[in-house]
Symmetry: C2
Subunit: 308 residues, 2 copies
Amino acid sequence: MSPINLAIVGVGKIVRDQHLPAVAANPDYRLIAAASRNGTVDGIDNFRSIEEMLSAVPAIDAVSLCMPPQYRYAAAEKALAAGKHVFLEKPPGATLSEVADLEALAAEKGLTLFASWHSRYAPAVEAAKTLLSGTTIRAMRVIWKEDVRHWHPNQEWIWQAGGLGVFDPGINALSIVTHILPRPVFITAATLEFPENRDAPIAAAITFTDARGLDLAADFDWRQTGKQSWDIVAETDAGEMVLSEGGAKLSVDGRLVHAAPEREYPALYERFAALVKAGRSDVDLAPLRHVADAFMLGRRKFVEAFHD
Amino acid sequence: MSPINLAIVGVGKIVRDQHLPAVAANPDYRLIAAASRNGTVDGIDNFRSIEEMLSAVPAIDAVSLCMPPQYRYAAAEKALAAGKHVFLEKPPGATLSEVADLEALAAEKGLTLFASWHSRYAPAVEAAKTLLSGTTIRAMRVIWKEDVRHWHPNQEWIWQAGGLGVFDPGINALSIVTHILPRPVFITAATLEFPENRDAPIAAAITFTDARGLDLAADFDWRQTGKQSWDIVAETDAGEMVLSEGGAKLSVDGRLVHAAPEREYPALYERFAALVKAGRSDVDLAPLRHVADAFMLGRRKFVEAFHD
């Protein structure tokens, strides 16, 4: 098969740090265009809007949509209508309903839609899933605490309604948890802390269970300075499992059992090429559904104003 | 087929006003038991909990679950595990994820799960759907304004996190809108007004669109005294359509074109019996998904305290 002629829309930090190197290293792709309000990519045609790009470069086979989620639907709808396969950065949209609509549109057109969850491709995630499938889980704790000033400096959109706030990193944890657990879970209670000057939460404490009464809790916080935590800890009959560093390392009872070099975005692009070749889509909305459930079910609590 | 041996769980106002008369008038059902923390039904066996009832009355074929949504999953899971068909009052649960889990469980067990939306069975809803399918809709407005003190006096659960607040009636409007429109819609913006002493909204203003750019807005308010409004108004090429009184009456350019006696709950129980006979489920989560989307995407605004 000849390479997939790819275009990238929304050229920001994640594109420069992750998408461009992953695409450049993968012979299944040829990057031929980019569209962005602010950024450009060297050595290819750049456009100010996806409409302009789609009409100027008919050779495009697929687009990666990396703009903030509030703008993703309109771009995805245009791309699918123009007959292009679509790779959606996480979260796949601002609402569940719009992504369900895109899924139906892709199916109707026979195109690939990929709702990507990069953290599911972290090095030790599959090893954790295998471990949990062979044991009994007594309790699980998800601790996702980072310094928003370091990771999202002056990103205004993330604090706007629909920007998800601390759920922007938290949804990475949820994408792992929903992948490694043997049964679906659902939220039973949540508290969301909103800075009094912001429309998105800075912290969230969530309890979940499943049909068998699993004890699962998640603690998301964007006010963590010093050591950052992206850990999932499970008390199991096989010992204490710790999946740490965002899924990079797995240890059992303090002994490291799995670690490998990080290659989340290379794996995402391998997956997308395989989906395009197979003529299939992959749209798992469970992580975003839990976020929506947390907003619907959660208590709102107001905390001190946040300034970058 | 012999009648379905039915039990009702959560005996409150809606059960007495609607479920009991509808079941009594339908020869497809025999009501044989009820379980409730507070209420009882005359002439049948009453229990304090669903567990007690399920173990004492093995002849039960199906249960109607009418407690507040926060408690619905646990009861539904027990009923399905015991091999009973399940009728869920609206909303079908406190989270989308738990209802998805119930749907999978019912499918696995070969049982019927019915997520009921009573307003979809209002007299003029099908006539409105037929009208809209044959015309172009230029704009639609949903006005759902009622007096919470009259309709939900001292119902504390409705104001708790997960109780949905004004979306408890608003979801009825959403269940009609998602049924009568020709294409799926999704929310683009929302403002939710929370009384400063409550964990659920008293009002919401929501804008939606669809893949073709439909202009759709909904206005939900629980502070309406005097005339109550449960209206859906559409500007169409066939004239101004007004679906009023919660779906009871349809008029076009001021001329009444459809009205019939209200029989929402009789129709719901006919539908449930047909599903049980056919061995099928009916779980459309679109109305609840829009509510979750509104909470996730919406701006929160605080308004004066509400006291019953």
